[in-house]
């Protein structure tokens, strides 16, 4: 568990501390790919401020620039216009945030354990602490006992969980997840959603999570942002007033508020895509 438990950002706080660890600020950001006549505007202009501890879910039609937005926050791209700030500074890969990509992107020449250990080494964890931290990370994603497996021998869901464990190793105060569960079956997906919800809540991290599913968005998010179709801009910015503490997942999913919010998001996504 993170030594620096960040308290959940109180939605009521008037002033958002934009230099707090894990906070994200996107200021008038536009991003274009290519140059000259081949230019293509992928996102923007977008203004977003994500206080530390928030679980922000990005939803929008395919190609509206969700991944691009995450890549900007991770520091893999620099905005064509505007500025991105993570924890008050310009983001750089490996410093700004832990990233879970759409595909697991595990290193096939390493075992499950080797993948985690590499992340621990890059995070600057001393070697003596690896076994303990590794066990902790694997337990957190429910993968005890798979340490010695080759990463191509385990199932797709297990691979994605290794990727999540790996992204958690550095204990970045910010976690970026790009449709991490898109390719999974419903059962595994729900389990992992609960995992992610629990992990971020317990460690108080900020999360930006991309999905196509309104259901997933409402279940995970403390706030949902719906993007318009390409180039993506903010179409709807919706706080989710559902309880964030330990709640029964089944009960939450079955509640009337949940159904209403899901319908609202679903409707907004369709409207934004049609506009």
């Amino acid at each position: 568990m993170s030594s620096s438990e960040v308290t959940e950002a109180a939605g009521a706080t008037a002033e958002v501390d934009t230099s707090a660890a894990g906070s994200v600020r996107i200021e008038h950001v536009t991003h274009r790919y290519g140059r000259g006549g081949e230019e293509f505007t992928a996102v923007g202009p977008v203004d977003l401020s994500v206080p530390a501890g928030e679980f922000l879910v990005l939803v929008g039609a395919s190609g509206c620039g969700k991944s691009t937005l995450l890549r900007l926050i991770a520091g893999f791209e620099r905005p064509t216009r505007g500025a991105v700030r993570v924890s008050g500074a310009e983001p750089r890969p490996g410093e700004a945030a832990g990233v879970v990509f759409q595909t697991p992107r595990l290193f096939p020449w390493r075992t499950v354990r080797g993948n985690i250990d590499l992340a621990l080494r890059y995070a600057g964890v001393s070697r003596a602490q690896w076994p303990g931290r590794r066990a902790q990370l694997l337990a957190r994603v429910g993968l005890e006992g798979t340490e010695r497996r080759r990463v191509w021998e385990i199932s797709g869901g297990q691979q994605q969980r290794v990727a999540i464990a790996r992204a958690l190793a550095a204990e970045n105060p910010l976690l970026l997840l790009d449709e991490p569960f898109a390719a999974l079956d419903a059962l595994t997906r729900e389990r992992l959603q609960e995992d992610v919800r629990r992990v971020t809540r317990r460690t108080g991290r900020t999360a930006v999570f991309v999905t196509h599913s309104a259901d997933e968005a409402v279940f995970l998010g403390s706030r949902i942002v719906v993007l318009t179709k390409s180039p993506g801009t903010v179409a709807l910015d919706l706080p989710i007033p559902l309880p964030r503490d330990d709640v029964d997942a089944e009960e939450l999913r079955g509640s009337r508020e949940f159904a209403e919010l899901r319908a609202q998001v679903s409707h907004a996504v369709k409207a934004a895509a049609a506009a």
Partner: protein
């Protein structure tokens, strides 16, 4: 055990034995196929050879009978009438000396190839700079530059080892360059997202992801070095298996020439087999990136 191939899983018949153990009849049949077939063809070859030699179509100098070659093999392998092997060195020693040259030469060439490959694969302009030269070098038959090496380096070990190094270098450089340039960008990004430095990325992503291709290049390189062996030992090659072949050829000693050729071929087969096994053990992730 090594001859048991990994056959595509046979459709299990209804009364199949528990999985893990192959039906005995099937196992016997594959064993037969993989041992008896090569042995049978070898035997047939020997018979045809014997028949050809016995027919005296060509003189014995041109086509010596198998028994003569066998005698030559025994001669060069042992001390007989006070003469040790061929020219004072036994066959196995000739082979050992040549293998050492190959190890040194190909080793140097392979090391240089890996370094150049890494550099050329990562730095675009280095690739543009060196690639034409390497392609040029690759198309040259080793004999073409051997004379030059003799002029420059004399007739001792240096030109031989250099020739083998120059022959082994291009395949490794080319395969490593291609593999490094084709490193999955997604994995490099994943490493960087975890906080890897530039050097970390090279060591932990670029090198392992290029390794399968590089190993294939190394296998090719050893093959090229092997086939350049006789050329490398053309001048002052004794002791050395290639030198032995060359020397025996000067005296029309066809049996010893054949013994040398067979020794080179068989040792080449063994080494290739070992490299192939190394490849399988060292890069089990081949094809899984």
């Amino acid at each position: 055990m090594s001859t048991t191939p990994s056959l595509a899983k046979p459709a299990a018949p209804a009364d199949a034995p528990p999985p893990g153990r192959r039906p005995p009849r099937h196992r016997v049949r594959t064993r037969v196929r993989h041992v008896a077939l090569p042995l049978g063809s070898l035997l047939l070859f020997l018979v045809l050879w014997q028949a050809l030699a016995a027919s005296h179509t060509w003189s014995e100098t041109l086509v010596p009978p198998p028994a003569k070659v066998w005698d030559a093999f025994v001669d060069v392998s042992t001390t007989h009438d006070g003469v040790r092997g061929y020219n004072g060195t036994t066959l196995i020693e000739h082979l050992g000396i040549s293998l050492r040259r190959i190890a040194f030469g190909a080793g140097l060439g392979i090391a240089a190839g890996v370094v150049f490959g890494l550099l050329m694969g990562t730095v675009g302009w280095l690739r543009s700079l060196f690639e034409p030269w390497i392609t040029f070098l690759r198309t040259l038959p080793p004999l073409a530059y051997f004379s030059l090496l003799i002029i420059w380096l004399g007739i001792d070990e240096e030109p031989k080892v250099t020739l083998l190094a120059v022959a082994a270098f291009p395949p490794v450089a080319v395969s490593t360059t291609t593999a490094v340039a084709a490193v999955p960008k997604s994995l490099v990004e994943a490493a960087r997202a975890l906080g890897a430095s530039r050097w970390d990325t090279v060591r932990d992503v670029v090198v392992p992801s290029a390794l399968p291709e590089t190993l294939t290049g190394i296998r090719l390189a050893v093959g090229v070095a092997y086939s350049s062996l006789v050329a490398a030992e053309l001048v002052n090659g004794l002791p050395g298996i290639g030198g032995m072949v060359k020397d025996a050829a000067n005296y029309n000693n066809t049996p010893v020439v054949l013994v040398g050729i067979i020794a080179i071929g068989v040792s080449g087969l063994v080494i290739d087999g070992l490299l192939l096994r190394l490849e399988r053990v060292a890069v089990p992730w081949r094809g899984r990136t």
